[in-house]
């Protein structure tokens, strides 16, 4: 091919290339680049993640001084914990003979393992703090009032699950700190009225050390291998699933109950 020929055809080729790119882009994103009201709406409603949001919100709902952003941050930290938690699961075995060594490996051997474990641990503490500040904000702004009463109830359950997520994770390193913290917790569990073998009225239901609520929680009469496995499954699978289901309801109901709260 002669050079002049190529020069003539080059713009044509460039257009064809851009058209193909555009065609593929259009199959992924259903909106254009231009900053138009139509595209602003499409960005939200054509994206499965962003469509948690309505296309428009009342202006005060975007103000940090009103929302404190704490609900959103709590959700983000939950996702953060999910990602770091999954990465930690690649290195961790819920076995009393291996767990501590696995954590020590993470701290001293695995590349970035220390940072990974630290972020997961501090993220968990951060989540407990942000969720409780979120509750304070929702209370102080009266956002639990009609018609949002039931969403507050879901929120209280999520607060409880956040505590339980953090608590079940506490045992997993199988170190003295976690072991005795869970012991303190289980000493309370065995004192449950009616259902714990050391609790008031335990004899009414025939509670003993090997059939009460503590036994069910730790899978034995002492904190051992079954307790570690149970804490692991609650922590990594069961509670996150329950929390995720409740979060779906929590977020969905914000919109069904009239969007962000505010003066009418």
């Amino acid at each position: 091919m002669k050079i002049p020929d190529l020069k003539k055809k080059l713009p044509d080729l460039k257009k064809k290339l851009m058209d193909s790119v555009n065609e593929i882009w259009r199959t992924v994103f259903r909106h254009g680049f231009k900053d138009t009201p139509r595209n602003r709406a499409l960005i939200i409603i054509s994206n499965v993640w962003l469509h948690l949001h309505p296309t428009q919100v009342r202006e005060h709902g975007t103000k940090i001084r009103f929302t404190w952003c704490m609900g959103g941050i709590t959700f983000f930290v939950f996702l953060f914990e999910l990602v770091t938690g999954i990465l930690l699961m690649y290195y961790y075995t819920p076995d009393v003979n291996k767990a501590y060594a696995d954590i020590a490996d993470l701290m001293y051997v695995v590349p970035y393992g220390r940072l990974l474990r630290n972020t997961h641990r501090w993220g968990a503490h951060a989540m407990v703090i942000t969720v409780s500040i979120h509750m304070l904000r929702v209370f102080l702004s009266g956002s639990y009032k009609a018609p949002r009463q039931f969403n507050w109830v879901i929120g209280v359950l999520l607060l409880l699950l956040t505590f339980l997520l953090s608590f079940t994770g506490y045992l997993l390193p199988w170190d003295q700190l976690g072991y005795w913290a869970i012991t303190v917790g289980m000493n309370m569990g065995r004192a449950t009225p009616f259902l714990g073998y050391e609790g008031p009225f335990a004899n009414l239901l025939g509670m003993t050390i090997n059939n009460d609520v503590r036994f069910a929680l730790i899978g034995g009469t002492t904190i051992g291998a079954p307790a570690l496995l149970r804490a692991y499954v609650w922590h990594c699978v069961a509670i996150p699933l329950i929390a995720a289901a409740l979060m779906m309801i929590h977020f969905w109901r914000i919109r069904k109950d009239g969007g962000i709260s505010g003066r009418l």
């Binding site: 919100v57 951060a126 209370f139 409880l160 390193p173 714990g196």
Partner: protein, 241 residues
């Protein structure tokens, strides 16, 4: 018709809506980035705790629950575990879930105000502060054998033996407990001509006051213990309070 009426309503409402993209989404992304940077920085400089391998034969002293449960553990000083560890937290959770159904004050819905809902805010903030005060004491101020140490004191194992505790005589204890709830339930009826009772009506009133009095009573028992060395108000073979 339905649509037209709806449109008419919209015209009357002040339309202060803005597009979520970019107004809200930008802030969320920024918040996510800042939080990520914050956690990464903190994690870079501060290591997560890891003590020695778990050893059932050697108890930690003090053995502490994680900080967010340290407030309940602190209550173990004043109550038996069935209350401090099970009934009290259950009441807190149930009370919180009931809150929107008990607070029937229509004012202050969706905006910050103290003036329009003083009672609710004072009660909630008292509980909130009480919780974190207990967390602080349990986490920071308790040393070996759960002995109290000020932040500037060094933790030692040689501290004076605590004063001996005694129980209230059973009739006195029962009278005190029944009297406390009776007076507590009746007292608000004489404030502002019983406005609280009339606003809440009987079921809401009974539940609200029951929960509030239990919260006050929990703090009250702490005072009885600290000031008068009282272990139990009611001591029976079946249950101790």
């Amino acid at each position: 018709m339905e649509i037209r009426r709806h449109e008419g309503e919209l015209a009357e409402l002040k339309d202060d809506r803005v597009f979520t993209w970019p107004n809200l989404v930008v802030k969320e992304f920024l918040a996510a980035i800042i939080v990520t940077i914050g956690i990464l920085f903190y994690s870079f400089y501060v290591d997560a705790p890891l003590s020695e391998l778990a050893d059932p034969a050697h108890a930690e002293n003090p053995a502490k629950a994680p900080w967010y449960f340290a407030g309940l553990q602190e209550q173990l000083v004043y109550f038996d575990p069935w209350y401090a560890g099970v009934v009290l937290p259950s009441l807190i959770v149930v009370g919180l879930m009931l809150l929107p159904y008990l607070d029937n004050n229509p004012k202050g819905n969706g905006y910050f105000t103290f003036r329009e809902r003083k009672f609710a805010i004072v009660v909630f903030l008292s509980g909130y502060v009480f919780w974190y005060l207990l967390v602080y004491i349990g986490t920071v101020l308790r040393g070996p054998y759960w002995t109290f140490f000020w932040p500037w004191q060094e933790w030692t194992h040689s501290f004076p033996a605590p004063a001996p505790l005694h129980n209230l005589p059973l009739p006195l204890g029962i009278a005190l407990l029944v009297g406390f709830y009776t007076v507590g339930l009746l007292f608000p009826l004489y404030i502002k001509k019983g406005t609280l009772f009339h606003n809440l009506d009987i079921i809401r009133y009974a539940l609200t006051m029951g929960l509030i009095l239990t919260m006050i009573g929990t703090a009250g028992k702490m005072i009885l213990r600290l000031a008068f060395n009282i272990k139990y108000i009611i001591a029976t073979p079946w249950i101790n309070i």
